[in-house]
Symmetry: D2
Subunit: 364 residues, 4 copies
């Protein structure tokens, strides 16, 4: 298990879906940073269920209690810890999951790794619910970055075959990013959102689920964050993004499309713009040699369809080593992509804040 992350901002995420609580400890936050708890709560609401009619109707408060790390509303240099109580604990019998693993879930791999001692209730530590504390940490990072002119926004780029327009690689007006944040369904084009919602509702009716792609843009990044090789910004972002359950692919700038391009098309020419060095296009996604080049950082994360579906599925019974069938009951999100949008922003914020602090450690 390694549910901690970071070099300067160091977060330790803890909790299981049906344990008394989930939470996070965040070490290394610069002292003196105001934390606006209302703003944080507004951010957390974006990943809460029940925000749009396509998501699971279950309601959870998800109000974090800040246990420490603040003094008079500002970070005090000491680790900040926050916990969110689980109201919904061990309400039913999950023990069958030890024996009949759900396809595309971590039931089987956890059973082997933890030799049957893992907490299976509600997915235990593998639950998407663990993204809530991630959002607490990331939400605070977002506030710190915004104060330095670094703004992060994400939207649903696609769900099933329905696509939103991509972010403009050279940057979006901040109003556009803000609008997406306020929307109950985070897309740039309302029409695209309708198609996506239709695909989700259709999947739900069929006892099925759908996946999608989240696109994220980071604007206002200074030149020079990151490093070559193992501390490159792409690798740092990717490593953290894959910590979000269901992410199966990450790409930057032109991404996989770059593999089809010619150098003459892909190379972003340098230009002068208002006295600053910029690139005319942004196929690089704002990162050259692992280091930010001053253009918006642009990336996409692919989410697989929700593994919990109502349809009968084939699986095995581990105790008898025989094949069997499984019917998952209960209410599940037929698509977790809309709720994943703020989680992607949170992760991006943590990585960028860490990179910003790391830059300072380069010089004396």
């Amino acid at each position: 298990m390694a549910s901690y992350w970071g070099k300067h901002i160091h977060i330790s995420v803890f909790g299981q879906s049906h344990a008394p609580a989930i939470g996070v400890a965040v070490d290394g936050l610069p002292a003196g940073e105001a934390v606006d708890l209302d703003k944080l709560q507004t951010f957390l609401q974006r990943r809460a269920p029940g925000r749009d009619s396509t998501s699971t109707p279950r309601k959870e408060g998800d109000v974090p209690e800040i246990l420490c790390g603040l003094a008079e509303g500002r970070t005090c240099g000491a680790p900040l810890a926050a916990v969110i109580r689980n109201t919904n604990t061990r309400s039913k019998d999950y023990s069958e999951l030890r024996d009949k693993p759900r396809p595309a879930h971590a039931d089987y791999t956890a059973q082997v790794k933890y030799r049957g001692f893992q907490d299976v209730a509600g997915g235990g530590h593998f639950s998407g619910r663990l993204t809530a504390p991630l959002c607490v940490a990331g939400g605070i990072a977002l506030q710190i970055l915004a104060r330095r002119g670094i703004h992060i926004g994400a939207h649903i780029r696609s769900i099933a075959n329905a696509e939103d327009r991509p972010f403009q690689p050279l940057g979006e007006p901040l109003e556009v990013l803000d609008e997406v944040k306020r929307a109950s369904f985070p897309v740039l084009e309302a029409q695209a959102g309708e198609h996506m919602r239709a695909a989700i509702l259709q999947a739900r009716e069929a006892g099925d689920s759908v996946g999608g792609v989240v696109e994220c843009i980071v604007q206002g990044v200074p030149v020079g964050l990151g490093s070559p090789m193992f501390q490159g910004l792409e690798g740092q972002l990717a490593a953290a993004l894959f910590a979000i359950p269901a992410v199966k692919g990450v790409e930057f700038g032109a991404g996989f499309e770059a593999a089809r391009m010619k150098g003459s098309e892909h190379n972003d020419p340098f230009v002068m713009e208002g006295g600053a060095v910029r690139t005319q296009t942004n196929h690089a996604g704002g990162i050259l040699g692992g280091i930010s080049d001053g253009m918006p950082i642009l990336f996409r994360a692919a989410f697989k369809p929700t593994p919990s579906i109502a349809q009968t599925q084939r699986t095995v019974r581990l105790s008898t080593e025989s094949e069997t069938e499984l019917q998952i009951t209960g209410r599940h999100d037929p698509c977790i992509v809309p709720r994943a949008v703020p989680v992607v922003e949170a992760v991006a914020a943590l990585v960028l804040l860490d990179a910003l602090l790391d830059r300072n450690a380069d010089q004396i």
Copy 2:
């Protein structure tokens, strides 16, 4: 700068393209492992230039000297260090690169980050040449893994629009992987290779370059390697893969395609096969909840086209803050993808060996 990596296997890569040498220190190799230096050299030759007529005709020896870490041909528990001398040092004047950054290279970002003190000759520490020591470390890891029945193979999945057939997600015969390793152009289907080579030669003639995708498969992985969240196998692999220059996207199993699938299509049903739990399909790419599920680990990395092209490009002159043009001279690989194939294998081997050792640290 953070050119080190790993929790158990800890590598420190050093060197610049035109410094006296490049090399690597590898800490944490289990003691008692035989290192077959001939086999290692054969592996290194796969990334050496001039192997196929499409690559740069420049020849380099790239024979590493093992400075320490072995006793009587076996790892002795102490760090292993290897250096490769650079024969081609500072032959011409690179100083213009400080002022006129090459598009899509790290010249500009390095200039800002290192305030003009970076070594620009031949790309310095950003050079693809630094993948040679990575291959030394990875080549040793490959030998250790093979002894445990873990086999890694990669091929060119595509270059420009030419595509090789994908690996079979349920696994390839080892002979097939071996054959690709021996081939001068590493593809599964000869025909596909011809199309790719044609695309490369065409790009070269046009003073241009092309990108591509490398696909990698890891077979024989036991169930239970990796962890949820930040030490998940996907994140660990991605973080290390993005350390390879020019990688702009990484995906596992169905990857970005998973975002278009329904849960009922994507979920891999568990089945019994010869007394073992397996999945009937492998859209997960062998990883569930960040942990290996016993199926082949399958992933792809997208490489952007070589940034060095012969065509005139637009750039800026930093000293005068004005726009200008740039013509890159010298011989360059019009496509680095074929030489990247063993590098991807090397990186995969390091991550898998680290995960294998980490599993042991889970239990007492």
Copy 3:
């Protein structure tokens, strides 16, 4: 700030003396380990105040709430988090400490490092109270180690000039270690305890304080834990011990006395004992080349006298850059050494458990 520690067992300690809570997240505990909460509470009581008439009469419950990490009373592989509520929060005005730093406290250094944003109430994150969560983590580690035959005990070696007899370097009967654990004043010889208590009470009456030395023994350690150089057992233990407030020295085996010895006196001859390799003496303190040699690990930590004393002290007023005097009020332990004994055991347990898990990662 870096209040996290460990390679395999990874702990994140959080909290301030007067924040809502203090606590710890512990990642990497092996799955399936029973946690006896009563035993844990008994252990925690040993560092609680008011146990002996020499310590501060203030009573705190210090009952940790386990938020997660357990399933059916056993570790489940997920991080374990525990919090202890602070009942005693911000009862008085501490703001003067920002301006008039207390000698030998961290008031001044924190003021500079955190630029005035640090939480000064009750010492904030620098408070000895933070050793309570350390004991929660260490108390669990002690239980896991005891199940593997590794037993840790500590006693007060000296307070002021009063000395207890040293541990026998070749090992103590476990009954002796248990007896010290049950004692209200943890010494081996009752007479020595009386002298120490007299010294403490005398200091209290004089408005003064005293320091002392804690000695710790770890028995049942297998040969081969630790590593040369930076992961040597001495360095690992020392690094963690200095995290306990007031520790100013750490020594192993003969320690500083070794510097006065001849090689012929100091070298521990190897002998065979019941079929096992042992040493005839144990000046090495059970560690050779950073690696455990199978003999008891023996070390001592020196604690400075409690910095809070009732006597008037000289200090400065930072705002006016002038010299002034300071009178610390309130009740303080005139000697924290007795309460530090279980903290030293806790720290030793965490380091040894980490080293035990690390050994497994050496081999595949």
Copy 4:
């Protein structure tokens, strides 16, 4: 094995006593720092053997080759790597050491840990020779620190029962530190040096060895380096100091003596001095709450006597599990303390430089 260290300055030490080479890779050096190679060589000479008639007469060049990391004589941001060739490789048969471990050496613990695969020649990776690359890294750090007004000096505080005068806790004139550095026998008082040399020569004649204490002072440290708990300066320094072979104890300021003091004696009163906050005494050794307080950092490290002695010693034969005797031949330093003085300075420099860079990462 974990022969790497550091958060910002990251060093990887490699090599065995009789391998082709030993060396170090240093990542994270700030770019643009001039490296004076002559000055570095002068520093390295201080740990070379044969400098004083009391040390082993064997001469080694110990001239490091810088493989990379510099461009035009300055650090270029890329890792710096240096190797030192071993001229003296495998000249005799060391295989008996696998079976008959030398008392107080790591022969036995290495044999168990590395299952017989360790390199025993000359002590392998456990050899004191590995402090040479440590001095290369530390020697560069010393130059960088000196440019910022941070000066580090060490001397022999004692050998056997002969004692030099201690450093003045409030600081020494830099001339004094320089003088010790130039001396062939590094003490403050010539008379004390004579007594020490006599003790060493007497031990040599008796086929014996002696230990000692090295004291180190770091002057010019700004207030605010370090952190509470696990990244406290004491813990960071101690962890690194115990990586030096033969160190068995480390203490700061008053150290173990503090355990005998009263608070009213030990607490250092704050005073104003030339507009700056200082302390009137320096029992804290310049560190309060793990953080530098602006006073000189003062610490001592205890070295055990050289384990290799000419006298016959008792040991065991592992293959037959029987007791036997051992006679170590060859020439050995009867006291390694004089040569350890620059090693202690090197380690202090690395820790301080790391702490200096870490401070920058605290703020944005």
